[in-house]
Subunit: 175 residues, 4 copies
């Protein structure tokens, strides 16, 4: 999985399976002992990365009274994960738009983000997004987070500043 992540980042999804196997230190044939097809590998990887991302975002999360504090906690975790794992993030992004990921995989991935979704839903109902649909609100929040990550990774010198400004925009947009 790690090898695949690295290779996808540097070579894209069209990278030969042989390259991934080599990067992982196994023979090209062995790769197919663990993954039936290349697509299967991609789906498993997508799931693993997404799950890892969700777990990281929710780490240390506890339901509390102050929604803004909860939100900022998760936001920080998320940004932290992104800046600490830029490769995973890029691989995940590539996989997400690739057309190789089955609806089933996407659905499973959604489930691992259930708690995140719950928090978002809370924010939606308590703020100005209440008349937006659930999915729309979540997508908006997600896109603001992703954009912030992009800039934190792209411009690490000002990462902290971007993180803070990003959250402020986020909060203003939804509250």
């Amino acid at each position: 999985m790690e090898a695949a992540t690295r290779v996808i980042v540097t070579q894209g999804l069209s990278a030969p399976t042989a390259t991934i196997a080599q990067e992982a230190g196994v023979s090209n044939g062995s790769l197919f002992t663990y993954f039936e097809t290349k697509t299967d590998l991609f789906n498993q990887l997508y799931l693993e990365l997404k799950t890892g991302m969700a777990a990281a975002a929710l780490e240390g999360f506890s339901v509390g009274s102050d929604l803004r504090k909860q939100a900022f906690h998760v936001w920080s975790n998320w940004m932290n994960w992104a800046t600490s794992n830029p490769e995973k993030r890029r691989a995940l992004a590539q996989l997400g738009v690739s057309g190789e990921i089955t609806p089933a995989t996407r659905a499973t991935a959604q489930k691992t983000m259930a708690n995140l979704a719950k928090l978002m839903e809370q924010m939606r109902t308590h703020g100005s997004l209440s008349n937006a649909s659930k999915g729309f609100a979540a997508a908006i929040m997600n896109s603001l987070a992703e954009t912030t990550m992009d800039f934190m990774i792209h411009d690490p010198a000002n990462a902290k500043k971007h993180c803070k400004i990003g959250f402020e925009i986020f909060w203003r947009a939804i509250s």
Copy 2:
């Protein structure tokens, strides 16, 4: 170009050039009379789509006193273009993340969006994004617009509603 757009949407960027040629009603060889390579085709298409999108967004735009009105005009145009040309939008999205588009093409494309960028910059300096960098602000605006488009296309029944809500979020985020 139209054929390529259609094929990219249904089959992705890895679609055979022969398929694109067939869709265009010409022989596989003829495709290379017009485009030196597949990559060249993709770059030209990207430019055309992006230019078309920018032109659509700015149609009927005139500098006025009320920034919100200007913004809403462009927003509406943009959403209109997206819902009227969902295929172009999807193809453009795929091309944009593909790694096939050269920096030169991206730069040229940026130029066609100069007026859009100017408007965004105005909004940034006159609102709460003034301490965000220019690029960051533009990316935020763009991502909100893209997310809104997604939902308008995905859920056409409520397109108008999404459009309006999207703009409100947008305006709240930046003002």
Copy 3:
């Protein structure tokens, strides 16, 4: 023809017909007004070059008493042609080994060299090659001449010296 000669020398026989047409200043289609196929062009060119070479070699040739003088006259002419027309020579060489030249063309080409063949035959019968077959003797003479040409063209500074030494070897070999 001239264009084809130039292109063959620089690009080889696999050069596109379009390139030859361009070099000749006509459209790719026009080439096929004059030559039915690429192979046809090659055959006609081969014939023209070979004929030209033979004519050059025999220029000013007159039957006389001294065989050595006659031989040297032809030899000099031949070497002169080769050094003055290195491109023609190289093109001719490429065509000769190409498998594109039909037996018919080769036969016709032979006929244009009839006088040269006659002289060679005279030399054979009057020297030590008399017990060699006619074709063998001619091939030997030819190969010595070709080798000498190669070195005259390759090392133009010593062209004259190579020419003289080559002839001496030639004369020693056959007399």
Copy 4:
């Protein structure tokens, strides 16, 4: 290699790699397991054939007092190799003029012929070619040998006679 030799002789260097693979009894893809490119195959084959030829020519060669005997020994070996391996010889000839053989390959091939070159050089310095350059002398000797081979293969009935006459011409030319 053998398959390639056979195919080159019958179809030329422009023969499809698939044909060579088929002739070798492997799939078209497998060919590229052994040779990175078609050009690479040609270069390796050239080297193998040239090395084989040199080895055959020098077989049983020992430095002795009589230069003529040494020369005739090598000459006989060489002619023998040529008549026993007409396909190899034709393939080698085609490869040699093809422009696909890199200077590096040619240089390596030269090294395998070092002993042959040494013998030729001895003959040059001890005979009438002493005022010819080293390369020129070698080329002359080579061309006489090649011409003789051609006729031995072309007219097998008189092969022995051609061989003997060829050597006599050769010896007369250089001594």
